[in-house]
Structures are given as C-alpha cells and as structure tokens.
C-alpha cells in the first residue's frame, strides 16, 4: 500500500522523466512527451493515494507529519538529510502542483505541437515540476533552498524558451536576476537560523524558536530575510517587475509558473515558516502585510490599462499573491493556503484559455481581438468562469477564498488592510470584466484575425474544461460538510491551520457586500469598455496623467533601468577601471614586467662567446685560489 512515507516518490517521478528525456529524448517516439506527461500523471495518481493515507491518519486522531528520505551530507557535527516531510500544508500545495500541473502538461501537447524544441520543453517542464515538489516536501531549509533555486533556474529556461526572440531572452534574464536579489536575503536568513539552532531541519528550528532559543531581534531579522526571498519569488513589491515580462514564455509555462509552481513558492515558504514569524517581533508580520497591500494596489491599478491579454492576467496574479501575503500577514495560514489552492485552478484556467485565444489568433493584445465569443464559445465560457472566479463572484472559487481573506483582515483589526482589500475587490472585478469584454464581446477589431479564429484541438480544450470545473467547485472546500464527504475530516479550516482548526462560517457581511461590489464593478467594466468603448477613450483622455502613470507601471521599470544604468553600471565602470589599471596593469603586468626586466639584465651576461666563458672560469678559479691562499696565511 502506498502511504505517506512514499511522498518522496512524487518529485522523483518527473525528475526521472527529465533525466530520461535529456539522455534519450530524441530516440523516444514523439520526442518523449508521453513519458513526461505520464510521469506527471503518475505523480498525481500517487498523490491521491498518499492523500488517502493522510485522511486515514487524520480519521484516527492526532497527526503531525511523516518524514521520509535519506542522508545527504553527514560530517561530525553537520548533518543534512535529503529529507521529505509530508503534512497537511504540503498536501494542499501538492494537490495544486500535481493536479493542475498534469492538466497543463496535457494541454502543452497540443499547444507546443510542431515546436522545434518540443522534447526539450517537456524535459524542462518535468524538472520544473520535480523541483517544485521537492521544495514543497523538503524537511530542511537547505534542501528547500536548493529546490527553490532549481525552480528559479527552470523558470529561466522556460521563460526564455524562445530565446531567439530578444524580449524572451531578456525577460528570462530579468526574472532570474530579480528573483536572485531576494534569494540572497533568503540564504542569509537560512544561515542565521542555522547558526543559532545548529540544524536546518524545519521542525527542529520551530521547536528551538518556541523554546526561546533565538533572541527576538535576531529572529525578526532572520524571518525578514526569509521574507525577502518570498518577495522575489512571489513577485511582491518592489521585486514584482519580472513577472509581467515572464509572459514572453510559452503560455503553458506562464500557467505553470503562475498557478502551480514558482510564484506560489514564496507564499508557501512563508506559510511553512509561519511559526517563526509568530515568534518574531510583530513588525515582521506588519512588513508582510504592508508589502502585500502595496503589491495589491499597484498590480490591480496597472491591470486596468495593460493591453496585452497575458500581461493583464499576470498582473491579476500579482494581485492575488498580494492578497495571499496580506492573509499571511494577518496570521491566517488557512485563508492564504485556501486562496492559493483555488487560485491554482482558476489562474491556470485563465492562462490556458488565453493560450487557446493566442493559439487561434496568434495575437496577444486586445487591440487585435474582440468578439471572439461567437467563434470560440467553449473558450469564452471557460475564460468567463476564470475571470469571475478571479473577480470573486458567487459561487465561483475565488469568492469563498477572497471572503476568507477579508474576514482574516477584519479579525486582525487592521483598518487600512480592510479598506485596501475592499478597493482591490472592486478593481479585480473591473479589470477582469474589462479583459473579458475586450477579448470576447463587441466587434472584432481585426476582421481578418477574427475570421480565422477557431476552437483548439480536444487536447487543449479538454484540460481547460476540467479546470473550469475546478474553478467552480474547489471553493466549496471551505465547508466542513464538503470536506467530510471527501474524507478530509472537514473543510479547509479544519485541514490547514496554524494553532487551532477553525470552522467556516458564512461571513454574511463580506459575502453580500463583496457580491454587490463585484456585480457593480463588472457592470461598470461593461459600461466603460463594452460596445465600441467610447467611454474608455474619454476616461483615458480625462484622466490622462493617471492613465500615463498606470501605463508606465508607476515608472518602476524606468526607475530600475535608471538605477542599473546610472548606479550599477557606473559602479561597475569604477570597478572595471580598478581591475584594469590597478589589478591588471600594475599588479599582474607590473610584476611580470619586473621579472622580464631582471631576465633581460641577466641575459646580457650570456654572450654565447666561448672566450668570455673561458675568461670567467679562469678568473673564478684565480679568485678562489687567491682566497684559499690568503685564508691559509
């Protein structure tokens, strides 16, 4: 029987597929895509068994978590395990990674068909999935960090998958470097935690912290550094700039990055280390909240003006990640993980549906689209469901999760957070309504493109429809009755929690308020951008300074470019000058020159003429003889 102690097999399967594809991919039928998809599907199936074992254990009372794995590094006092730790938090995360991941893999078989690097795509995707599962299951910070970097590296490979195109290559570089900035902090944080506790094991570090092993300022610094890693990975302000550019990758990659892997890794990591955040000074969680709120406002407003379909969805992801961080800042792991879970489904749905549009029209900006609902009814319905889920309309998944976060913020007594979240709810509905209106309704802006549009092959529509189902039903996991029916022992509040389980109560105030707000926003979106969209043009002109501010993404990219050009490159020039003049010319070339000069001087003694040598020998012999004689006398 497959049990929780076999959790380590989950990442091993796609990793094995990666190795096989790299070694023998070109000899496999269809470049080995079936192997990659099969390994991923096997992971999903295996996870179902592991989950069944977990629910079994939950039914039998108290449950902490199960370790598996083997030794990794073992010295006298330094011991790191290649260890895996399976608990309920990991289970929620793995559900997203394996189930959503499998659907994305299947979809890729259709979307990437005919690509010259078809096999390599599946190899990289497999490694991506394997790294993410390792990250989720890691029982110690060192393994977690390794997997974390592997995820970053895979995102680099996949965002730059079409690296012949310059924007793609630059986006890959940007994603990698931007996340590295946060990762440096993450690594320092890990080392700080290890220095005092003497172990990388998460559970032991938690115990050490709860026993007061760290001083509060020290622990606060350490968790803030950990959070820096999450800021980079989860695209929080001010390191969010890489994520919209990451849209240069193939659409399945965007779906995988945004829904199942990579960006949610930061949220997961903060949720995982939440016991440390709670032991630290409250200022740590305040930082998490404020950065989350800033991110929410920034992304939700920029999303109103972006014209690239995938980028709008990218900004909606940043918005969602901000919401999750706010929930974590409010100390509610339940709300954050619940949102993360349903977000995985509806965000993958949005991306794959957008991928269908791209595949059918080969256009990415709303200026070339419009009226596609008549041509692609299934995709339109799917995208609509995804958009409504993102907007948070009853009864779609986003509704329940978003309300949980609203409740968490209210119970945390943070008035600013509550106010910002309500604004963000309105904005999310507004920009998702705008996107749907612009792409699927009204008159086609490019007649030629519209006429050639058509629904994709079944292998692409199938996963989209399954995810549509997911985007509708996953939200009901909030209810204890639904969870019990599935054998999970209760709703999400009973399943993932930090201190004590909490039962979902219908928050009538939030539910009714947010529903009205969302409906009003959707109506506003329809009124502004529907039809010919005259109102949108007028608004754009009336509010031109605001429009320009949003269009230029608050000038943050320009600011960073300025910093890079003026400060980093200027500093680099100084260092380069020092290297060239002081280190190279003076140090290296100088010492070499001295040696050469000495050699040249000594060389003058060597004439090569026999009489000179003979004279030297004779003189030497005479001098030695004279010295011997004198010393004898």
């Amino acid at each position: 029987m497959v049990g929780m102690e076999h959790a380590w097999v989950l990442p091993a399967l796609p990793f094995g597929a990666f190795v096989l594809l790299m070694l023998a991919g070109r000899y496999l039928p269809r470049r080995g895509d079936l192997l990659a998809v099969g390994a991923m599907a096997a992971s999903a199936v295996l996870f179902s068994f592991v989950l069944a074992d977990l629910t079994d254990a939950l039914a039998h009372g108290e449950f902490q978590g199960v370790f598996s794995g083997t030794d990794w590094l073992k010295f006298d006092t330094f011991h790191v395990r290649l260890g895996f730790y399976f608990d309920r938090l990991a289970a929620v995360m793995l559900a997203v990674v394996t189930y959503v991941g499998t659907l994305i893999f299947v979809y890729s078989m259709g979307y990437m068909k005919g690509d010259p690097r078809y096999g390599w795509f599946f190899a990289a995707m497999s490694l991506f999935a394997a790294s993410m599962m390792t990250l989720v299951l890691a029982d110690n910070l060192l393994l977690l960090y390794g997997a974390w970097e592997a995820v970053g590296f895979c995102s680099y490979l996949l965002i730059g998958f079409w690296h012949e195109r310059r924007p793609a290559a630059e986006a890959a570089k940007k994603a990698f470097i931007t996340t590295r900035i946060g990762d440096v902090g993450f690594l320092i944080g890990i080392v700080l935690l290890w220095r005092e506790a003497g172990t990388f094991n998460l559970q032991e570090i938690f115990r050490f912290a709860q026993e007061g092993g760290y001083s509060t300022p020290y622990l606060t610094l350490a968790v803030l550094l950990l959070f820096a890693g999450a800021v980079g990975k989860s695209a929080q302000f001010p390191l969010h700039v890489w994520l919209p550019d990451a849209m240069e990758g193939p659409t399945p990659v965007s779906a995988l990055i945004h829904a199942a892997t990579m960006v949610v890794a930061g949220v997961y990591m903060v949720a995982r280390t939440m016991p440390l955040f709670q032991e630290a000074d409250p200022v740590a969680l305040d930082v998490v909240t404020s950065l989350g709120l800033t991110t929410v406002v920034l992304s939700a407003t920029i999303a109103l003006v972006v014209r690239d379909v995938k980028r709008v969805i990218a900004y909606s992801t940043i918005n969602s990640l901000g919401l999750m961080m706010v929930a974590l800042g409010a100390g509610s792991v339940t709300a954050a993980m619940f949102y993360l879970f349903v977000h995985g489904f509806f965000k993958a749905l949005l991306f794959l549906a957008a991928g269908n549009v791209l595949h059918a029209t080969d256009r990415q900006t709303v200026d070339d689209l419009g009226g596609l609902a008549r041509k692609m009814p299934l995709t339109a319905v799917a995208f609509g469901v995804g958009a409504l889920a993102m907007a948070g309309l009853f009864p779609f998944a986003g509704f329940w999760a978003k309300d949980e976060i609203l409740v968490a913020a209210r119970e945390y007594h943070n008035q600013v957070a509550v106010a910002v979240l309500w604004v963000s709810v309105a904005l999310a509905a507004l920009y998702m309504g705008r996107l749907y209106t612009l792409v699927f309704t009204g008159q086609p802006r490019d007649r030629h493109v519209w006429e050639h549009a058509h629904e994709g092959p079944p292998i692409m529509v199938g996963p989209v429809l399954l995810l549509t189902l997911g985007a509708v039903v996953t939200g009901f996991l909030a209810f204890d009755q639904v969870g019990e029916a599935l054998g999970l022992g209760g709703g999400i509040g009973q399943f993932v929690y930090l201190e004590e389980p909490h039962t979902f109560h219908m928050p009538w105030g939030e539910a009714i308020g947010s529903t009205l707000l969302v409906v009003a926003s959707l109506g506003a979106a329809w009124a502004i951008w529907g039809g010919k969209g005259e109102l949108a043009v007028q608004l754009g002109k009336r509010l031109q300074p605001l429009y320009l501010l949003l269009w230029n993404k608050y000038y943050m990219d320009d600011l960073y470019q300025w910093i890079v050009n003026r400060i980093v490159l200027a500093g680099g020039a100084v260092v380069a000058w020092f290297d060239r003049v002081v280190v190279n010319d003076t140090g290296v070339d100088g010492s070499a020159g001295l040696t050469a000069l000495g050699g040249w001087l000594m060389r003058q003694l060597q004439t090569g003429k026999l009489p000179n040598y003979a004279l030297a020998i004779a003189t030497g012999a005479a001098v030695i003889g004279a010295v011997v004689l004198v010393s004898r006398m």
Partner: protein, 102 residues
Amino acid sequence: MIPVQHFLLLGALLFSLGVYGVLSRRNAVLIILSVELMLQAVNINLVAFAVYLAPDEFVGLIFALFVIAVAAAEVGLALAIALRLFRNRTTANVDEVDSLRW
C-alpha cells in the same frame, strides 16, 4: 738530483701558457691544443710529486697515464666537434659561434 721546484715551475709555466692560449686564441683547434698544454702541465706535477714523495710506488705515474688516455679521448671528441663546426659554418672562429645563447 734536480729539485722539485724546477718541475713545479715548469708545470706552472706550461699551465699559464695553456690558459693564455685558451683565452687569447680564436681558432677552435688552437684552443683545444692549449687545453692539452694545461693537461700536460698537470701531468708534469703528478709525475714530479710521485717521484719525490713515493719513489718506490707507481701510483702517481699510473695516474698520469690515465690522464693521458682520457686526454686522448677528449681530443678525439673535441676535434670532431671542431670539424663539424667548420663543415657547417666554414669557420673555426669561436667568436662567430654564439647561436646557442638564450
């Protein structure tokens, strides 16, 4: 009996002649000849000391014979080098032969 100093003086004279020849001559063959002079000066010293210090034994004399044998071999080698030099460079002037430096 002739005093040993006379032999030593002759040897020193012969040796100095050889040194002067090696230093002043430019012709390879003459340099080799001068080296031979120096070797013979040494031989004279050896024989003289042998007769004066141990007249009943032949150790010093045998040593002189060895020097003569080795010198003969050395001259054969050196002359061969001088011959090859002349064949290659059409000169036996050692001043013109300095291509092996550095």
